[in-house]
Symmetry: C2
Subunit: 359 residues, 2 copies
């Protein structure tokens, strides 16, 4: 069964018009559409247009401010804390990344923690902004609690992604962007729609025993930190998720752990918040604050080529350099268009009708 | 069978005298003994006295300089690159961490990449130096290639640990310090000595198929990145190990990937180095460059208490906060002494006889 594809331009226009309809200023609607569509282009379908109506519902519930006054509330030469004023993470995050880049221009590196924000799309979009400045970029965010730390039955962490982006010279950049769980929630959602089982090691039941039921989260189960179980290092995955949570939210003054407000509008946020909104953390490091940029980038070319050409396990064509699959997907989808699942397409049509935007 | 324990003071004195014998200045011998013994105290037995004769053999082979002139070769307000002059990582790393802390005092954060160094003991020792300054500390290092990236049969990365240390108020600090592989090499060495099998997911054979043979590395096999296999996220573990390698060595000008020189003196370093020695990377972030330190630390107390008191899987007493086991081990070993395996004890006795240091 071939999926129908729709051109990037048409989908971008639709998203832009939706953001305008909910009251975003033009420049912010543009940025929001850019960030959202970058997920669809790069093949992270769970973080793109599939989420558009979710953002709108949060706005309807009064939990997203479409005209935020984003501002720096604390800073040092290499750091800042930003209050997102309950804006879309899709616009708060680019603002924060820009501040980090400016700090890095001035003193070598810039580090920005963000509070009072909402979901920011894919981390990779933000961190990749550093590349044009010959900077290394980092982005992380906390998220609604779906993950049980090792030995816990309670869900205390989000899938809390980390992204690290490193420029090269002639080779494409190194772009690592991954959830700190064994599998991202988006992968689970694919299995749910297909009514397929999940591999052991991705999820646990409400009582903490292993499960293969992709619908287990609805029954009180949880995603598992990278590593799957204690013997295979799930305590390390827990360390990673905790690190993201603390940098994103305890440094900034956002909600952390089980207090992170849910993305979905039908669940109410905890009544006893420990901070404001959700939190993000961004970093920018000027390569030439360490060594000449050209020299660094040539060694990155050498690093990438050596790893990509490694001798492989029989049947595997090559070692995949982080960022390769997403870049290849983007090239293809810019050319042939973006495939939309029937359910996502229907959801967007309904949204368009409600807001008076032609799909 | 009870293991004999020896007092910290006696073992520290022995290590100190050995470092003096190989020509270290007094202050550097003291620092080296501190760093080495901190591993034994914290229960990371593979990184402590068990490695002392290995450092000495590298010195005998002319690959460690016991009187290094450690210096900053490049810097910006928030960054520096340090040339370790082929010194012991045990002294180069504390120097670099001190530079990072000074930078953070001046401009909020400090980030230091190191080249031309050797093994630096446990990452946790270095990062924990930040705590007394109310700073978050980070430390990472690359290491001899023992790890095959996902789909590779070649060993291209070290076990490349990451450490993140975060201060709290009344609670002990958060100390995450872990190899970016499913299991650290030290855990494999324990199984080798006991002639026991390893769990599936830790190691692969020379041809890349899974193995439970703890001796597989001698046959050309490899350790596996955190995640164990592609379906359980080993590509994320590869991302983590690659990140450590690039920050530690491509930023600094050290050797990276398969070019990292081996720790053992009987293996010769690659004939075509791409940099100097091995590399490390350190970070220090002043908490009050983000928000008042007291406020931050109180929220960390809240974070730690909430996670530690989470409802657990039946049979598990509590969720373990990163750093808890090592801190408890240190308290016990300071009291009752450090247990030494018979083989390590014999190795130290032989070393003492050779150098004329009473064990």
């Amino acid at each position: 069964m071939e999926q129908e594809t729709i051109s990037f331009d048409r989908l971008w226009q639709f998203a832009y018009q939706v953001f305008i309809k909910i009251g975003c200023p033009e420049d912010q609607a543009r940025t929001s559409a850019d960030v959202l569509l970058s997920a669809d282009l790069r093949g992270i379908d769970s973080h793109g247009l599939a989420r558009l109506s979710g953002y709108v519902r949060l706005w309807e519930a009064g939990r997203v401010n479409s005209k935020p006054s984003i501002r720096i509330v604390h800073e040092s030469p290499s750091t800042a804390v930003i209050d997102g004023d309950q804006g879309l993470g899709l616009v708060v995050a680019p603002y924060a990344m820009e501040v980090a880049i400016e700090k890095a221009k001035q003193c070598g590196t810039g580090w920005v923690a963000v509070k009072n924000s909402n979901h920011f799309g894919i981390a990779g979009y933000h961190a990749m902004k550093c590349l044009q400045h010959d900077m290394i970029g980092m982005a992380m965010t906390n998220a609604s609690p779906l993950v049980a730390p090792t030995f816990s039955v309670e869900r205390l962490l989000g899938t809390n992604p980390i992204c690290v982006v490193i420029p090269a010279n002639e080779q494409p950049p190194f772009v690592a962007d991954f959830a700190t769980t064994t599998a991202a929630n988006g992968k689970l959602e694919i299995l749910q729609r297909k009514n397929q089982d999940a591999p052991l090691g991705w999820i646990q039941k409400k009582n903490g025993t292993p499960s293969t039921n992709a619908h287990e989260l609805k029954e009180g189960g949880a995603l598992i930190p990278l590593g799957s179980d204690r013997e295979h290092g799930s305590h390390k995955g827990f360390c990673l998720g905790a690190w993201v949570d603390i940098f994103s939210a305890v440094l900034s003054g956002a909600n952390y752990g089980p207090w992170v407000p849910p993305f979905v509008s039908f669940l109410t946020p905890p009544a006893d918040p420990v901070g404001e909104g959700i939190g993000h953390f961004f970093g920018a490091m000027r390569v030439d604050a360490f060594r000449p940029a050209q020299e660094f980038k040539q060694h990155m070319d050498n690093w990438i080529m050596r790893f990509r050409s490694a001798k492989t396990i029989e049947g595997q064509p090559k070692v995949i350099i982080p960022g390769d699959p997403e870049r290849e997907c983007e090239a293809e989808r810019r050319r042939i268009g973006i495939p939309l699942e029937a359910s996502v397409r229907k959801d967007l049509e309904t949204l368009g009708q409600k807001l008076g935007v032609a799909f």
